[in-house]
């Protein structure tokens, strides 16, 4: 049976087609990487845009408030026209307080979940639990905000009767719950990346599963696990709506979890929804706080990357 009318071999057809369509093919081969490169550059432009945005208005802020006051003043009272005070420390302490409380929830529960999923659970259990936990991470934060305010706070008040209605504890716990999946799934990834050969080596020496998990797998995955903690902290610091809704808005320099606090993010929302007139110092302070938040999370992300880079080289 004849292939085509011409008595041409496939190799010849290919040869013919190649020489014909070459210039277009060559052009595509050359153009594609350039186009893709441009897309990659967008991500850099985004960062440039953020820095530009923040710096532009922040400079106006610091022309009126000294940097020294900004970082040393113990009070944050931007709204008192008579005598405003712009000390970032209370907002920082509020932010850190929430983040620390969140980590006290997220680390134990997240890590235990990771260990359970990677070392004990069967494949099918793991496959069904992970997506459910993902839902937990994907719930809009505004929903969590009201959950904190209308469920967790009253619940806490039955345990701690003196607990004020607005406090750092409740949003801290809820932020913690929100980032459990992040800790769990990143730690689980790091632990699953530990080669099975190591588990087998330990089991063959008569170890129990617990010993394998705690003495072999966890140490081997440690940097990945720690990186997940650090990333989770960064997420907790940047969380906005939960603390805006349930944290109160009193910027106080405190480390008492039952105090009402204000975080950097909550201030930004408050001030931008509020009364500040354009060009006023409060308006500029939004950006000063924004850049502080940005630098803060940037440093933390860098730390996380440094840790997980070291981790990648270890096997």
């Amino acid at each position: 049976m004849n292939r085509t009318n011409q008595n041409e071999s496939i190799a010849e057809i290919i040869e013919r087609k190649k020489s014909k369509s070459n210039w277009l093919g060559n052009f595509i081969e050359k153009a594609i990487p350039v186009v893709l490169w441009l897309a990659a550059v967008i991500s850099i432009l985004t960062t440039v845009g953020i820095i530009f945005t923040l710096l532009k208005e922040t400079s106006s802020f610091f022309s009126e408030v000294s940097i020294l006051q900004f970082i040393t003043d113990l009070n944050w009272y931007p709204f008192f026209e008579a005598d405003p005070e712009f000390g970032i420390l209370p907002l920082l302490s509020g932010t850190l307080l929430v983040a620390v409380i969140a980590m006290f929830v997220a680390i134990p529960f997240g890590l235990a979940t990771a260990i359970y999923l990677s070392e004990y659970a069967s494949e099918s259990v793991r496959r069904s639990i992970k997506p459910i936990l993902e839902v937990l991470a994907g719930i809009p934060t505004i929903v969590y905000g009201y959950f904190a305010l209308t469920f967790v706070t009253p619940l806490l008040q039955t345990i701690i009767p003196d607990l004020p209605f607005f406090n750092a504890l409740s949003p801290g716990i809820v932020v913690g719950i929100m980032i459990i999946p992040m800790v769990a799934s990143l730690s689980e990834d790091a632990m699953s990346a530990v080669p099975n050969a190591m588990r087998e080596g330990a089991l063959a020496l008569g170890s129990t599963r617990l010993e394998v998990a705690l003495k072999v797998v966890l140490p081997a995955a440690l940097s990945g696990v720690i990186a997940s903690f650090v990333l989770a902290i960064s997420r907790a610091i940047g969380e906005t709506m939960i603390v805006t809704i349930a944290g109160g808005s009193s910027p106080t320099l405190t480390f008492d979890p039952t105090d009402s606090i204000q975080t950097m993010t909550a201030f930004i929302v408050q001030a931008s929804l509020g009364d500040a007139s354009y060009g006023s110092i409060i308006y500029f302070s939004i950006y000063a706080v924004g850049i502080t938040l940005f630098i803060f999370t940037l440093i933390i992300n860098m730390i996380a990357q440094y840790i997980s880079k070291r981790f990648r080289e270890s096997y």
Binding site: A39, V41, F109, P140, I180, G238
Partner: protein
């Protein structure tokens, strides 16, 4: 001479096994904690909001009368936002991932881009809100349009999509790529016909999860000043908009108790959309996970 006392070892065996069993249940309990919270949260929202969900709730605009208030404008708004956010973020994200995984040489510039992307992934969403406000709303004079909101959200989830796409591109075994090169395929042919088809389930899963996050984002939209009351549906991408989280946030601040319940109704719809998107992602993942 034996250095190990065998009877000691035997005796300890039981203690070790017991510890193992107890811990197993502790770990399980910790895992269940997250699920229980999820259940409580759903129960509360549903019991409060379900009675308010009716057909009108989807077809009416917001109103000062709780009985008449509906989600039409925010539903349309969210839909239109995704119309911008999804293609922009996915196209940019996949392109960037392809560049980094398939073309970029291992040099300073590449690792700079990579570091930059990881950092962007950690930037708080509210800072993206400030970016959107300054660049899109003001500088580019897009006002509070769907375009401005959609682009802001697109940049917000871009790093997540890039990372997810990179991972699934990396997961395409290099031996099938080699097979393609071995047949004389060019790089782009290999990418288009072998790498992308194999990576698409992973890319889709990551993108859907990222988009479901974008749907629930409140802070950046508050920052760019999305409308709170709107009684028309958008005509094009330059129209003003409101979105579901904004509407919910607004309702909860009302003095009337009924609005709190309507807000819960809105939350149910938001959660339902989220669950649907997550299930689609899971389905895709499960369907394609056994490929290699």
């Amino acid at each position: 001479m034996s250095l190990i006392n065998k009877t000691d070892v035997e005796q300890r065996m039981h203690g070790r096994q017991r510890k193992n069993n107890v811990s197993k249940y502790l770990f399980l309990a910790a895992t269940m904690f997250g699920l229980v919270v999820l259940a409580v949260l759903f129960y509360r929202v549903i019991s409060q909001g379900a009675p308010h969900i009716s057909w009108n709730f989807f077809t009416e605009f917001a109103s000062r009368n709780p009985e008449d208030a509906g989600m039409k404008a925010p539903l349309y708004g969210t839909f239109w936002l995704m119309l911008i956010t999804a293609p922009v973020s996915v196209i940019l994200g996949v392109s960037t991932a392809l560049y980094l995984e398939m073309y970029a040489k291992k040099n300073r510039f590449t690792s700079f881009i990579q570091t930059n992307i990881s950092n962007l992934a950690g930037v708080p969403s509210i800072v993206f809100g400030l970016l959107g406000l300054t660049i899109f709303v003001r500088l580019m004079e897009m006002n509070q349009s769907i375009m401005a909101g959609g682009l802001t959200l697109a940049l917000l989830i871009l790093p997540v999509i890039i990372v997810a796409s990179q991972e699934s591109i990396r997961a395409v075994p290099s031996d099938v790529q080699e097979a393609s090169y071995g047949l004389g395929a060019t790089k782009w042919q290999t990418i288009r016909r072998v790498v992308l088809p194999a990576a698409i389930p992973g890319i889709l899963t990551g993108s859907i999860l990222a988009l479901s996050r974008a749907i629930g984002e409140t802070a950046p939209l508050i920052m760019i000043g999305a409308f709170t009351f709107i009684a028309f549906v958008p005509e094009n991408v330059w129209s003003g908009f409101t979105a579901m989280p904004i509407q919910i946030y607004n309702w909860t601040a009302r003095p009337q108790e009924e609005f709190q319940q309507i807000a819960a109704g809105g939350i149910i719809i938001l959660l339902a959309m989220l669950l649907i998107m997550n299930s689609i992602a899971v389905l895709i993942r499960n369907k394609f996970s056994k490929r290699y």
